[in-house]
Amino acid sequence: MGTVTCPECWSFNVEWDDVRPTGTVYTWARSHRDFMTELDVKAPYVTVLVELDDVPIRLLGILVGAGSVAIGDRVTGVFQKPDNSSWTILRWEPAA
């Protein structure tokens, strides 16, 4: 599903840009079953879709360290590396 070009100008010269890991909860869903045995987070867990502050892009991630969630909540991105993962994963926690 990832794109190889910029869909706005069709350039193949895409590059990484630094943005602040801050944003607003656009929507969320709470999983009440462990659908994925390989996931280090156990149900119930909340996945948030976050609208970034710096660019008009929305990113998914599991919400950690929060009791409740609502659209419009301010969140900050954190990077976690689960024991069974070879990759670092973006997750979100309530903004300080």
Binding site: M1, A29, S31, F35, M36, L39, L60, I71
Partner: protein, 394 residues
């Protein structure tokens, strides 16, 4: 050449079983369904010259041509992308082939068996690395994200979802073939059922069945020579606007089902109404694909069958949604939640029954419906719907 009224559904078969309990694998059940649909239409299976389907599977046109030993294969088309979102498109594609003279007799179908393709509860084959690390692994998850915003931001009340489910269960009580036949659902039981992926409770979720569904389409001229009441294809469309649901949750029409339009692109729903020359307010009965209740509510909104936002709750009352006298009778066989789920194609068969006057929850009893809409899978990367009509509407 005009598409409207050029082709008609003249034979249907909907064979379903509890999941994992189908008497044959996908291909066996499918061949059985095609033979039954042809027999009902009074057409020799050897006359079939086209096949259309959606959501993948191994039973391609050439394979089925060999199974049935048809004379010539002229049309073999899979609707690309989006799972059940392409279900109505399979019917529309069959009709388009006939209307343009590419084929004479096309079968639109879907077959599913747990033994062949497993379950949808963990759709790892579909969700990629943009989703899986975040605990998003099923259709329930992606539909839950959109539905939560539909409820919390757009203000559609939860009662709209609940009443859609209660209407389906109400209808299933008159349908002995429905899984929920003899198992009525109360609002209290719905409200107390467990969450699966919030905001969806157990009863908001579709069933999964083994089964096969086939619809046989021929030209309007040929349909009139057969001993069945044709359900004419008045209009149909497939597609999406603005890369809906294919841009990793970054599309703009986020809380729609994928059938709405923009200022410069009409969208699936408008194209169907425009082709058919029918207004949303004029439709007699609707079968709306409910993978989950919330996305189905979004489909009704996209199609102009129900107002958006908080007003959706005022309109989507149980009384309004049930046949025969509701303003908008929906899912009159019980739908995916209370009848059966073969990737939603059973709903298309019920749409045909409403035109024929043979539904267990018939609207306009005695004459049958004049207009009957089937809306395909919502909140998927492709969306589609098809409007069927009686002879009177031509």
């Amino acid at each position: 050449m005009t598409f409207r009224g050029s082709a008609a559904v003249v034979g249907v078969s909907d064979q379903h079983y509890p999941r994992g309990k189908g008497p044959r694998g996908e291909r066996g059940m499918l061949v059985e369904a095609i033979l039954a649909a042809c027999q009902e239409a009074g057409i020799s299976p050897r006359d079939v010259d086209g096949f259309t389907s959606y959501a993948g599977g191994d039973n391609s046109g050439p394979v089925l041509a060999a199974e049935l030993d048809i004379r010539e294969l002229r049309w073999s088309t899979m609707v690309w992308g989006g799972g059940g979102g392409g279900s109505a498109a399979a019917i529309v594609t069959a009709a388009a082939a006939i209307a343009s003279g590419q084929a004479d007799c096309v079968v639109a179908f879907r077959s599913m068996a747990q033994v062949s393709t497993g379950r949808l509860g963990y759709a790892k084959y579909y969700f990629d690395h943009q989703y899986l690390p975040h605990g998003i692994s099923t259709p329930a998850h992606v539909c839950a994200l959109r539905t939560q915003r539909l409820l919390e931001h757009d203000g559609v009340p939860r009662s709209a979802m609940r009443n859609l489910v209660l209407a389906a269960y109400h209808h299933a009580q008159a349908n002995p073939e429905a899984a929920a036949y003899g198992k009525p659902l109360t609002a209290k039981t719905y409200d107390e059922s467990a969450y699966i992926v919030e905001p969806f409770r157990l009863y908001d979720c579709s069933r999964e069945n083994d089964g096969a569904v086939a619809l046989v389409l021929v030209s309007a001229e040929r349909a009139r020579t057969l001993d069945v009441k044709p359900a004419y294809v008045l209009g149909g469309a497939q597609g999406s606007v603005g890369a809906y649901a294919a841009r990793n949750e970054n599309d703009s029409a986020y809380t729609t089902a994928g059938g709405s339009g923009t200022s410069d692109s009409p969208g699936v729903a408008s194209r169907v109404w425009q082709q058919a020359g029918v207004k949303a307010s004029e439709v007699d009965v609707v079968q709306v694909y409910e993978n989950f209740s919330g996305p189905a509510v979004a489909s009704l909104i996209d199609h102009g069958l129900c107002p958006p936002g908080p007003a959706a709750g005022d309109f989507l009352t149980l009384d309004n949604l049930i046949a025969p006298n509701g303003i908008l009778p929906v899912n009159t066989s019980g739908g995916n939640v209370a009848d059966s789920f073969v990737n939603g194609m059973g709903l298309a068969v019920e749409a045909v029954r409403q035109i024929r006057g043979t539904s267990r929850n018939q609207v306009r009893d005695g004459s049958g419906a004049d207009t009957s809409l089937y809306i395909g899978g919502p909140m998927a990367p492709i969306h589609s719907s098809v409007l069927l009509g009686s002879e009177k509407t031509l």
